[in-house]
C-alpha cells in the first residue's frame, strides 16, 4: 500500500504519527472507587455520635459492612453494564476479573453484615448468639422491606454459590449465565431495606439522595448499554450469515453480511458477543473476535469447534439472522507505543492477530507475526496471512510440534535469535492460558517490559 515510502525514514515518521498510545483509565477509576468508599464510611462516621457498649460495636460493624456491601453492589453491577470506557479502554477481560473479584468481596461483606446485625439485634433484645436465627425471623417479620431483602439475599447466596469455580465448571454456560442474570432481581430486592431501615439513610436526606443517585445512574447505564445500544445497533445493521467456510479441520469462519458494517466502530483486535437465531443457539451469546478488519458489507469471525455452540456454527444456514453486541475489547492498535510490533498467536488465538496483522500501520519490517499451532495443517488462515505478509513486507513465522510430537522451543533465547531487537517491540498476544503464560515469561526474559506486552485473558 505505501510502496513508495516503504522502509524509509519518512515512512517510520508517518507510522509513529499514527501511534497514539492511550492510557488505560484503570488507575483513575480505582481511585474514584476508593474515594466513594471513604465517602460511605464518612456517612457512617458522622451519623454515629458514639458507641456505647459491645452490642453497639457489633451493630456498628454490621452497619459498616452493610454500607460497603450496598456501595460495592452497585459497582459490581456497573462493571457488567458494558460501558464502553470499561469494555474498550480497560478491557473486557480485566473488567470481568474485577467483577468476579469485587463480587466475591461483596458477598463476603453481605454475609458479615447479616451475621453482625442479627447478632447485635439479638443482644439488644437481651438474647444471645444462639438465638440469631430466631432474631432473623423476628426482624424479617417486623422491620420494613426486610422480607424483600431476605429473598434478595437468599438469591444472592445461590448465585454466589453457583459461581464458585468447581461448581461453575460443572454447569452449562448458558444455564449459569441466565441464573447469574437474577443478580439484578437480587439487587433490586435488597435495595429497599437499605433506604427504609438503614440508619444512615432513614435520618439523613442527603445520604438518601446520594444512594438513589448511585443506584439510579447504574440502572440507567445498564438499560442504556445492555439493552438500548444493542437494539439500536442491530436495527441499524441487520446482520445475517452469508456463508460458513471450513478453514482447517475443526476451525470454521462465519461470514456475516449487513448494512454499513464499517460504521459499527469495530477495530481490529476487538470482538462482539454473537447470538445466532438458529435452533438451539437463540438463547446463548458468545464472544468471538473479528478475524479480519471490518468491511462495509462483511464481518468475519473464525472459531474453533470445541464446545456445543462452536460445533453448531458449522451447520449455520446462510440467511440466519444474527444479533451482535459490541464491539468490545481493548486489544487494539491503541495499546501500541512503539513502531515495531510482534504479534503472537496460539491456535485459534490467531483471529484477532490476523485482523491486527492486516491493519496495524507500519513500514516494511515493522510487523512480525509468530503463529504457534500443533501442526502445519492446523495453521488456519495461513494462505491469507502469507499474502498479507507479502504485500506489506511483514514477517511471518510459525512454530509447530515436530513430527514426533515435540513442542517447539519458544524461549527468551530463541526469541532473541529470531528477532534480535525483540525488546524494542510492542507485543500483542492471544492464545490459550498456558501458552500465553509461557510466552509471557519468555518475552520478559528477552527484555520486553511488562507494560508493552498486551494480552487478553478470559480466565478468571
Amino acid at each position: 500500500m505505501t510502496t513508495t515510502l516503504a522502509g524509509g525514514r519518512a515512512a517510520r515518521r508517518q507510522t509513529m504519527r499514527r501511534i497514539r498510545p492511550r492510557r488505560s483509565p484503570a488507575v483513575p477509576l480505582l481511585l474514584a472507587v476508593g474515594a466513594g468508599a471513604v465517602a460511605v464510611l464518612w456517612l457512617w462516621w458522622t451519623n454515629t455520635p458514639s458507641i456505647a457498649d459491645t452490642t453497639g460495636k457489633i451493630v456498628a460493624a454490621g452497619r459498616i459492612t452493610g454500607l460497603l456491601a450496598g456501595y460495592l453492589m452497585a459497582l459490581v453491577v456497573l462493571q457488567m453494564a458494558r460501558v464502553p470506557a470499561l469494555e474498550r479502554r480497560v478491557g473486557s477481560d480485566r473488567v470481568a476479573r474485577w467483577h468476579a473479584m469485587s463480587g466475591r468481596y461483596t458477598v463476603s461483606l453481605v454475609i458479615a453484615h447479616v451475621f453482625l446485625i442479627m447478632w447485635g439485634y439479638a443482644r439488644q433484645a437481651g438474647k444471645s448468639l444462639g438465638d440469631i436465627v430466631q432474631q432473623t425471623i423476628t426482624s424479617i417479620n417486623t422491620l420494613p422491606d426486610m422480607g424483600k431483602a431476605a429473598i434478595g439475599t437468599g438469591l444472592l447466596f445461590v448465585i454466589a454459590f453457583l459461581s464458585i469455580g468447581p461448581v461453575r465448571r460443572r454447569l452449562p454456560y448458558d444455564g449459569w449465565y441466565h441464573v447469574h442474570l437474577l443478580t439484578y432481581a437480587a439487587v433490586f430486592l435488597t435495595f429497599w431495606h437499605q433506604i427504609t431501615t438503614g440508619n444512615e439513610f432513614a435520618v439523613e436526606p442527603t445520604a438518601k439522595t446520594f444512594w438513589y443517585g448511585l443506584y439510579g445512574v447504574v440502572t440507567a447505564l445498564v438499560l442504556w448499554y445492555r439493552i438500548i445500544t444493542p437494539v439500536r445497533l442491530n436495527m441499524r445493521h441487520r446482520m445475517r450469515v452469508e456463508a460458513v467456510v471450513e478453514e482447517t479441520p475443526g476451525i470454521v469462519s462465519v461470514l456475516i453480511g449487513g448494512r454499513r458494517l464499517h460504521r459499527m466502530g469495530a477495530e481490529a483486535g476487538q470482538f462482539f458477543r454473537w447470538r445466532f437465531k438458529a435452533p438451539g443457539m437463540r438463547f446463548s451469546s458468545h464472544p468471538y473476535s473479528l478475524s479480519a478488519a471490518p468491511r462495509p458489507d462483511m464481518l468475519r469471525i473464525t472459531v474453533k469447534a470445541i464446545g456445543d455452540h462452536t460445533s453448531r456454527l458449522r451447520e449455520l444456514e446462510p440467511g440466519t439472522k444474527v444479533w451482535a453486541e459490541g464491539p468490545y475489547g481493548a486489544l487494539t492498535a491503541q495499546r501500541r507505543s512503539r513502531g515495531k510490533v510482534l504479534l503472537v498467536a496460539g491456535g485459534v488465538g490467531i483471529t484477532p492477530m490476523r485482523a491486527l496483522f492486516e491493519t496495524l500501520p507500519g513500514a516494511s519490517g515493522d510487523i512480525t507475526l509468530l503463529y504457534r499451532a500443533n501442526s502445519t495443517q492446523d495453521l488456519a488462515l495461513w494462505g491469507e496471512l502469507a499474502k498479507i505478509a507479502d504485500e506489506r513486507g511483514a514477517r511471518l513465522m510459525y512454530a509447530v510440534n515436530s513430527p514426533d510430537g515435540e513442542r517447539p522451543d519458544i524461549s527468551a533465547e530463541s526469541l532473541r535469535r529470531k528477532i534480535p531487537d525483540v525488546d524494542r517491540h510492542d507485543v500483542f498476544m492471544c492464545g490459550p492460558p498456558g501458552f500465553a503464560q509461557s510466552v509471557y515469561e519468555a518475552l520478559r526474559g528477552a527484555g520486553v517490559p511488562a507494560r508493552r506486552i498486551h494480552h487478553e485473558s478470559f480466565e478468571m
Binding site: S50, I51, A52, D53, A61, R104, Y121, Q124, S139, T197
Partner: protein, 255 residues
Amino acid sequence: MRKSHPVRRAVLATAATVSGIVLLLSLKPASDPGSAAAAGGAAPPAAARSPQGGAAQPIGNGTVTGDAARTQYGAVQVRLTVSGGKITKAEAVQAPAGGQSDQITSNAVPRLNQAAVAAQSAEIDAVSGATYTSSGYKKSLQSALDKARAAGSGQGAGDGAGSAQARTVTGDVAQTQYGPVQVRITVSGGKITKAEAVQTPEGGQSDQVNSNAVPKLNQAAVAAGDAGIDAVSGATYTSAGYKQSLQSALDKAGG
C-alpha cells in the same frame, strides 16, 4: 500477566477489612449517649437535675409524669405512681417505637421500671443493648422525681381538679402519620392559661408545617378553653394529634 495469588489476596482483603472496621470502631468515643445527644443539639427539654439527689427525700402522693427525654431513637417519658413518699410503680408512657426499637423497648422498659421501683431513685443501671433508651429513661425518671418532690413540699397531694394554683399538665402522646404530638397546658383557676406543644413531627416538610400550625393551635386552645378547636389548614394530621393530646391533658387536669 503477573501470577495471581487468590488465597493471598483473600487473606489480605479480609485482614484489611477487619482491621479497618476495628480501627473505625475503636476511634469512636464510647461516651454516654445522653451527653452525646445533648452535644448534638437534641437536648431534652428542661431535665434539670435535682441538687439533692438522695432517695430519702419526702415526696408527694399520686402520679407524676417526667419530662420527655429525647434520644437518638425517639422520646422516653416516665410516669411514677408515688404513695407514702415511695415510688410504688414506674412506667414508660413513651419509648422509642418502630423498626428495631420495638424489640429493644419491649425488652428494656420492664427492667427499667423494676429497677426504678427497687432503687427509689434515678440511679439505675442501663440495660445492655438499650443504652440510649436507658439513658433517656433515667433522665425522664429524674425529672419525674424532681416534680414529685416539688409537689410534695408544696400542697401535699398531687393532682387536684380546679385548684387555684397554676399547674401544668401534659397530655398523652398522640401518634400521627408524621410523628408524635404532645401538648402541655398550664391550668390556673380552672382555665387554660397557656398551651404549648412539647413534641411535634420533625424533619423534612414537617418543620415548616408545624412552625406555622403549632402557634395557631396554641392560641386556639387558650381561646377555646377546651379541645373543640378548628384544625389548621395544611396541617390536618398535626391538628388532629394536637387535639387528641390536648383532650388527654384536659382529662388529666379535670380528673
